[in-house]
């Protein structure tokens, strides 16, 4: 975790350093004098060698200072945290939306394998994963905001502002999870213990939900966990399309403006966030998988 963060920060810092664009041009108004530019360079230590600047930056992080944006002058950590809940809200809603659709649909299609219903759902899911989600967002705006006028096309506010972005991120995610759920269920159904359970006279429902779903849950949770990175990527695009003030758009905007402290800081914080999410996924595993649970509780 720590070495990964160090290497990541070094790579991003280095990449932003190589990318053209004198930071002085971002910080000072365009018509600032050479004299003032030089003073600023000295003050900010832009003239120092690369490694000196990098270690100063890392030193700053260790003492709790992630630097200030070149563009807005705001604290990087504060800005990131100020926007984090927006992305979590969007990502969380998208994920819930995706799970609510995909898990039942996946189970249903697995149980009705090779019927027309299965084929239809599978084809729809395929369409879902094949769509660029920013395009889906644009099409939703076109339909629901512009043609029908039901929902706002962007910005923030009440729950109605959340619907289109969450559906945009959630729909392709749902398509993906439907496929995962379906194949996980199919795998489970073929297992011998299912036959055994059926033979023992357990009801069909009980077999599917108690034995089947329970075992299929692990690959599904894994898939959900893996998709967090996807959710973040999807959010970055959806945030751009819908003008949603989250961290994805923050990073993309900052890169376009060459706001090095904001970019480096945000990406490091994203890594930390992903690590925390992965940890959370591991904990959920423990709940899902009786074997892992047994390990933790030390009983049975």
């Amino acid at each position: 975790m720590i070495p990964t963060l160090l290497v990541t920060s070094l790579l991003i810092f280095w990449a932003m350093d190589l990318a053209g664009g004198d930071p002085v041009n971002q910080i000072l108004p365009e018509n600032a004098t050479y004299e003032q530019r030089e003073i600023l360079r000295e003050q900010m230590g832009f003239n120092d060698p690369f490694m000196v600047r990098y270690f100063r930056y890392i030193g700053g992080i260790l003492s709790g200072d992630m630097g200030k944006s070149y563009i807005s002058g705001l604290d990087v950590f504060g800005t990131f945290m100020g926007r984090l809940h927006m992305t979590l809200l969007l990502g969380g809603s998208a994920l819930i939306f995706a799970c609510l659709i995909s898990v039942p649909l996946g189970i249903y299609t697995a149980l009705h394998q090779n019927t027309w219903k299965d084929t239809l759902a599978t084809v729809l899911a395929l369409f879902g994963v094949s769509m660029p989600n920013f395009w889906l967002g644009l099409m939703l705006i076109l339909l629901f905001s512009l043609k029908l006028g039901w929902l706002p096309s962007g910005g923030t506010g009440g729950i109605q502002y959340l619907v289109l972005p969450a559906v945009t991120v959630g729909l392709s995610l749902a398509a993906l999870l439907t496929r995962t759920t379906r194949s996980a269920m199919l795998d489970v159904i073929r297992q011998d213990y299912m036959t055994t359970a059926k033979a023992k006279g357990a009801s069909y429902r009980r077999v599917i939900y108690n034995h089947g779903l329970r075992n299929a849950m692990i690959p599904i949770v894994t898939a959900v966990g893996m998709q967090f990175s996807y959710v973040m990527t999807g959010s970055a695009l959806a945030e751009t399309v819908f003008g949603w003030p989250g961290i994805g758009r923050l990073v993309v905007d900052s890169i376009n403006k060459r706001d090095t402290p904001m970019v480096t800081g945000s990406i490091i914080l994203c890594c930390v966030l992903m690590a925390i999410i992965n940890l959370a996924v591991d904990i959920v595993y423990a709940f899902c998988d009786p074997r892992i649970k047994a390990q933790y509780s030390g009983r049975s």
Binding site: V7, A15, L126, M131, P132, W135, L237
Partner: protein
């Protein structure tokens, strides 16, 4: 199939060629029965033909980038997909643009595949420090939302088609590194590798001749799917403004142009997006078909 496998071990190299052909034939035989995969193949072949024809029929300077007075024409007889904000025919641009999208995604997947497999095989075969380094690097690419890396890389290298391709290759390689590593590790300690070592075959020859063929099917499937997802990634990056330089008719760039006119000229957004969706859909259908066709579990 189990028969052929036996003969390989018994009789060595010659049979292996036979086995390869047989496996390909067997796969093709099963693929042919898969309707989805066949639709995918037909679509892709048709698209490639159309694109090839388009590059002869249309003149880049005259038909693809030159402006005309017919701006914002809705789909009609003269312009079946309408015209854009500069009066360019969208049908011509979408067809011509297929070349860019395909080249970028195929190129980046190929580079990612080569680099990823090489590093993965290296890591899997030698283990230890090399394994550690390679895996930590792929971890980094797993822990940062991919789009952020790509945007940083393109910013660093400058906006151009080649740099876009490289940035995407960077996001692709970690996938293949994992596949390569896992495949090599499963066979590393098996007898036939030992045997190869004993008769003095160089290590790389052992890997290329005996290990790679064993993990061919996940690689082929993964490659097909990755080409599809890279089309989406490339268009996402262009959409964010870090892809190709204007006036290149790349699909994502066309979407990004159309976005400003979505309200008055929705078709500018609709058609490039449909092109992306159907192409990716075709690749996904093919990928799924290949997976089923190559899956030993489904052989019965």
């Amino acid at each position: 199939m189990s028969k052929t496998r036996k003969t390989i071990i018994l009789e060595g190299e010659e049979i292996e060629i036979y086995k390869g052909r047989s496996m390909a034939q067997e796969t093709w035989r099963r693929l042919k029965r898969n309707k989805g995969a066949m639709i995918g193949i037909i679509f892709l072949v048709a698209l490639m033909l159309a694109t090839t024809v388009a590059s002869f029929v249309y003149d880049y300077d005259k038909d693809i980038i030159a402006m005309s007075k017919d701006r914002f024409m809705p789909p009609s007889k003269d312009h079946i997909l309408g015209t854009d904000n500069m009066g360019r025919d969208i049908f011509a641009r979408v067809l011509y643009g297929a070349k860019y999208s395909l080249v970028i995604s195929l190129g980046s997947t190929a580079i990612g595949l080569a680099v990823g497999l090489f590093l993965g095989a290296l890591a899997g075969y030698y283990g230890g420090l090399i394994d550690n380094i390679v895996m930590r690097v792929t971890d980094i690419f797993y822990s940062i939302p991919y789009i952020m890396i790509a945007v940083v890389v393109v910013s660093m290298l400058g906006t151009s088609t080649m740099n876009l391709l490289l940035a995407m290759a960077l996001g692709t390689f970690s996938n293949f590194a994992r596949i390569g590593r896992a495949s090599v590790m499963t066979v590393r300690d098996q007898e036939f590798i030992e045997a190869g070592r004993a008769i003095g075959l160089p290590t790389w020859k052992t890997i290329v001749k005996h290990v790679l063929p064993n993990c061919l099917s996940p690689i082929i499937v993964q490659t097909t799917l990755k080409v599809g997802s890279n089309i989406i990634s490339a268009s996402s990056l262009s959409f964010l403004g870090v892809g190709v330089t204007p006036p290149t008719p790349e699909w994502g760039a066309m979407l990004s142009d159309g976005r400003s006119y979505i309200r008055s000229s929705g078709w500018m957004c609709l058609f490039p997006g449909l092109a992306i969706m159907f192409t990716v859909l075709a690749l996904n259908l093919l990928g799924d078909g290949l997976r089923d066709a190559m899956d030993p579990k489904l052989k019965r």
